[in-house]
């Protein structure tokens, strides 16, 4: 705290009148905080210990929040113990006061509202105090009148800018060093938000399913040298149907389906609606009930914000995503936000991610880029940014035409810049055709007539496809059919598929 509770709470000069206060709101917010940690997070945003009129309430608030910020339990027992250690238990009225507070709070979900009421009453008490001090300056006479007016203005301005938010300052000698708890070693940290970004069609969602599948059976992921305890995942998918795409892909990846969950939506007074950022507190509670879940995937995160925000505005994006960041920290869950890359050409990967550099990327501690390199269309996941450790080597993966996903392993040659350089090309007609053709031929040689017909359906002329064919160094083979005249059908294939070409 920056000042003592008693200093902050001191009564104004005209102390014969009882300063305005609301004890019901004070007990309600404290009770909610003792019932659920979600209420503490909500209250911390709007009220501070020195906002409470009753000193005992300020002490309880300070004790609960200090435990919470240290990541410790905040129930009646721990708070009682902490108050006893600080010699404040008798001051606040004993442990039974805490049980009464918890039992009588009207609604934990309204903690922020109760907190705001407490903070508003604190402000009007400060207004009364400032008014008294200004009155005293007036009674002192007109000496230094300009200075007095300036001070009076500053005192009133300070009231407007102040209020809420207790500063918690620790000296580093008291701060214990912490190791990063990795869900996927070096790439996806627990307790933080990771971004997985890439152009459409590179397999971002499939990678997330494969990741969930690997975790569900306790498999070592690429780049790791040991298996793990089976870990659960929760998929918040706005684009892929749970019963069709996701279930099929999970099965194809060999997932233990008991360990992978799907968030269908949120039931409210109207019906089932999509998950929104302000539902994070419900999700946090759900994760507390499901300690096996170590990964939450939001795919794509843009849908989470759709219709609510201008994603190019930093403050709005941060405000919307902060609940997820807080949830990840409090539950020690890895949150992966899947994101489409923006179409603007930019040199640095991190400047391309999301609508707002400070919004999306600034909140993420790790940013993974998914893409395909230009020459052979190899797919890879590369590290574009990591705030909590060195960037890890890229990992190559394959998605074949039959819809099977396979990790191919570490691929040092497929860095973020390499993938990005290929990605830039996708935003021209030829680039898009190159990407499409790489995808179409990925599983092996295809009849040229079939490629042309499919390309036509995607809006690519034969001339564009032929230029894309040259661009990627594709090859063709033509064979006559026994018993028929002519040269026979022609097949197109990628440079590394010669062995698969029809003989």
């Amino acid at each position: 705290m920056t000042r003592s509770l008693d200093d902050a709470r001191r009564r104004p000069a005209n102390a014969e009148r009882v300063p305005p206060h609301n004890l019901d709101a004070e007990t309600a917010v404290l009770g909610a905080m003792l019932v659920t940690p979600a209420a503490i997070a909500a209250a911390l945003d709007v009220v501070a210990a020195d906002d409470f009129y009753r000193p005992a309430h300020g002490h309880i608030f300070e004790t609960v929040t200090s435990l919470y910020l240290k990541g410790e339990a905040t129930d009646g027992l721990t708070v009682t113990d902490q108050l006893r250690r600080r010699g404040l238990l008798e001051t606040v009225g004993g442990a039974s006061v805490l049980t009464d507070l918890a039992a009588d709070t009207p609604a934990t979900g309204s903690a922020a509202r109760y907190g705001r009421i407490v903070a508003e009453y604190a402000t009007v008490r400060r207004l009364v105090g400032v008014a008294g001090e200004i009155a005293e300056m007036g009674y002192d006479g007109p000496d230094d009148l300009a200075g007095k007016l300036d001070r009076a203005r500053d005192m009133l301005a300070a009231l407007r800018s102040g209020g809420g938010g207790a500063l918690v300052i620790r000296t580093f000698v008291d701060i214990e060093a912490e190791q990063v708890d990795w869900l996927w070693q070096g790439r996806i940290p627990r307790g933080m938000v990771t971004i997985a970004a890439g152009d459409p069609g590179v397999g971002k969602s499939f990678v997330m399913v494969a990741l969930s599948a690997g975790l569900s059976v306790g498999a070592a992921l690429p780049g790791e040298d040991r298996s793990r305890q089976p870990t659960g995942s929760l998929l918040v998918s706005y684009e892929d149907a749970a019963g069709v795409t996701l279930k099929q892909r999970l099965a194809a990846c060999g997932a233990d389906e008991r360990m992978v969950h799907n968030l269908d939506g949120v039931v409210d007074g109207v019906g089932l609606r999509p998950f929104r950022p302000d539902d994070a507190r419900h999700l946090e509670r759900e994760l507390e009930r499901r300690p096996d879940v170590g990964l939450v995937v939001v795919d794509p995160v843009g849908s989470l914000l759709a219709g609510k925000l201008d994603t190019s505005r930093d403050n709005e994006v941060r405000g919307a995503l902060l609940p997820l960041v807080d949830m990840a920290r409090r539950t020690n869950t890895a949150v992966v936000a899947v994101m489409h890359l923006r179409k603007e050409d930019a040199q640095r990967v991190i400047y391309r991610v999301g609508g707002s550099v400070g919004g999306f990327v600034g909140l993420a501690r790790s940013v993974l880029l998914l893409g395909r390199e230009q020459q052979f269309g190899r797919r890879a996941l590369a590290h574009a940014k990591c705030n909590v450790g060195p960037e890890s080597p890229s990992v190559e993966y394959i998605i074949d035409e039959a819809g099977r996903f396979m990790w191919k392993g570490v691929a040092d040659d497929l860095g973020a810049e390499t993938l990005l350089a290929a990605g830039e090309r996708h935003h021209t007609k030829l680039g898009a055709a190159v990407a499409w053709l790489l995808d179409r031929l990925d599983a092996g040689p295809v009849l040229r007539s079939q490629v042309v017909a499919d390309g036509d359906e995607h809006g690519f002329s034969f001339a564009t496809l032929r230029r894309a064919y040259d661009e990627i160094g594709a090859d063709s083979v033509q064979h006559g059919v026994p018993g028929k005249l002519g040269k026979g059908p022609s097949y197109w294939f990628l440079p590394d598929q010669l062995a698969q070409a029809p003989k």
Binding site: D24, G76, L77, A102, A103, S110, D268, R285
Partner: protein
């Protein structure tokens, strides 16, 4: 505390959250009083737990409405 009642009593999900966290708090309170001698006495804990459960019942009714 009429002015401090929930703002949105039609939010079923929020009401169920209220139920869950209160039942959990009541159970925890009773468990603590049985395990730790220096916590509150049994009568105080039981009284608080009953009020938590009564409050939870209120939210059950809201959720069902």
């Amino acid at each position: 505390m009429a002015t401090l009642q929930p703002e949105d009593s039609t939010d079923r999900s929020a009401a169920l959250d209220e139920v869950a966290c209160r039942l959990e708090a009541a159970a925890r309170m009773l468990a603590y009083v049985l395990i730790f001698d220096d916590f509150v006495d049994l009568e105080t804990a039981a009284s608080a737990a009953i009020r938590l459960i009564e409050r939870a019942q209120h939210f059950v009714r809201l959720a069902a409405a």
